[in-house]
């Protein structure tokens, strides 16, 4: 089909039918439309260079170049539409896939990514990111939370309390993301909630990225003495699969906080499911 769209009463997400990538999110309640290109990339881990012998490792994130490499420029897609759910399944490679999902009544887009085992047969350590590129004019600013409490403004190549000279243009702009990261132009806000702590940044205006997985072949020399291979019990395995979710909200800057705070509560205190065959004996204390 030339049209690849999933939509409920609140949100519409459009995909490029040729590449299978997310290209647009629309908030139908607020009549907001934002071009958003989302895809997976990886940074080639540094093993040290002539400036510094520092390798990327468990403690240190140090890519060997500023631009990450795309996992693939397009994704094989499959579309599922039923009355209870709409999903676009995107397969980027043998080790990277994603399901973009919308349930009825939901005000956010759910991106469930599956990454791994990261191949390292080429001898390169890899640090995999999910990146959202938008047209928002963000003036070098983005926002991350600190344990879901205070949202802090982060400015690219800047520290608020000293004159800062940036030597690591990627890693030096990465910050912890405990539950959410967002970018805004003052009118519109794109927020991404995470289901676990991750590293995140905005390395160019309108862009937002989160590191979802990494597998490294060198130790960073900070005392661990072992590369971050994620190899399994005997250190020789194929690496780990990771599955997680990013919840994406598009809203006005004014209304965004109410939306992401309520949604984050619902995610962190998510319902717990327990199964039973039934027919158990009546039980009363005592």
């Amino acid at each position: 089909s030339r049209v690849l769209v999933i939509q409920n009463e609140h949100i519409r997400a459009s995909f490029n039918p040729d590449t299978g990538l997310l290209v647009e999110i629309e908030n139908l309640d607020q009549n907001l439309l934002l071009p958003v290109r989302q895809a997976f990339f990886w940074y080639n881990a540094s093993t040290g260079d002539n400036v510094s012998s520092q390798a990327s490792g468990a403690y240190i994130f140090r890519p060997n170049q500023q631009e990450p490499l795309p996992v693939r420029h397009w994704a094989e897609t499959r579309l599922v539409k039923t009355s209870l759910v709409q999903e676009v399944h995107q397969n980027f490679s043998a080790w990277c896939s994603q399901v973009v999902r919308l349930y009825p009544g939901q005000r956010h887009l759910e991106l469930e990514w599956t990454v791994g085992p990261i191949p390292v047969g080429d001898g390169w350590g890899k640090e995999v990111i999910s990146r959202f590129d938008t047209t928002l004019e963000t003036d070098g600013r983005f926002y991350t939370d600190s344990n879901g409490r205070e949202i802090l403004e982060r400015r690219r190549d800047y520290r608020p309390t000293w004159n800062f000279s940036q030597t690591e243009p990627v890693a030096g702009n990465y910050y912890p993301v405990n539950s959410r990261i967002y970018i805004t132009d003052g009118n519109m806000q794109l927020t991404v909630l995470t289901d676990r702590s991750q590293g995140g940044s905005s390395l160019s205006d309108g862009s937002l990225e989160l590191m979802v997985h990494r597998r490294l072949l060198r130790d960073d020399g900070r005392g661990l003495g072992e590369p971050l291979q994620e190899a399994g019990p005997n250190g020789q395995g194929p690496g780990l699969w990771v599955r997680g979710r990013h919840l994406v909200l598009l809203d006005t800057a004014r209304a965004a906080a109410a939306g992401h705070r309520l949604l984050a509560e619902k995610e962190i205190l998510a319902p717990q499911i327990v199964l039973a065959l039934g027919g158990g004996a009546p039980y009363r204390l005592g």
Binding site: A231, I273, V274, A281, L285
Partner: protein, 169 residues
């Protein structure tokens, strides 16, 4: 009897040592995983006891730890089962329940015995090992409480033989 102390202690050890950041040697990370798993066992018993007391029925509850990768032996084999959903949030929530099942038709009833809309999602052209069919239904759960839904796999209907009516001459 169940208890939550081993899980709390395991969590304390993990948090103290920053265990999720990847900054431990692999054999140490494996030991963190072992401590968590050993702590979780008696916690499940504790939850069983609490649910039995709250629901007034003593069940052999099953916790599907691999639901995130669509693996749950009970829902994938049983023809009838109950799904108890506990909501720890201070307001009621609507939650889409997804459970891996065998292919077929299912009936889902809410705590009042009323049938709720449900469907079995299969990914066309996919391997059922990798993408098992999933039963979806929306559950309404009260604040700081739980709801129990009943799931029945309906027997496959046999195709009925049709008798041809004689045409009037």
């Amino acid at each position: 009897s169940g208890e939550s102390v081993p899980l709390r202690e395991a969590m304390a050890v993990l948090q103290h040592h920053d265990a999720v950041s990847g900054t431990s040697r692999q054999h140490v990370a494996d030991d963190y995983a072992r401590q968590l798993a050993e702590g979780w066992g008696p916690c499940e018993v504790l939850l069983n006891n609490a649910l039995a007391r709250l629901s007034g029925s003593k069940e052999n509850f099953t916790f599907c730890r691999e639901l995130n990768v669509s693996v749950c032996p009970l829902s994938q084999t049983a023809a009838h089962f109950q799904v108890t959903i506990y909501n720890p949030l201070g307001r009621k929530v609507d939650w889409m329940v997804r459970l891996p099942v065998q292919e077929g038709v299912f009936s889902v009833r809410d705590p009042n015995g009323l049938t709720v809309p449900s469907e079995v999602l299969t990914l066309p052209g996919s391997d059922s090992q990798e993408y098992p069919p999933e039963l979806l239904f929306s559950a309404l759960v009260p604040a700081l409480g739980f709801s129990t839904y009943s799931v029945d796999r309906l027997p496959r209907q046999k195709p009925r033989a049709r008798t041809r009516r004689p045409r009037p001459q």
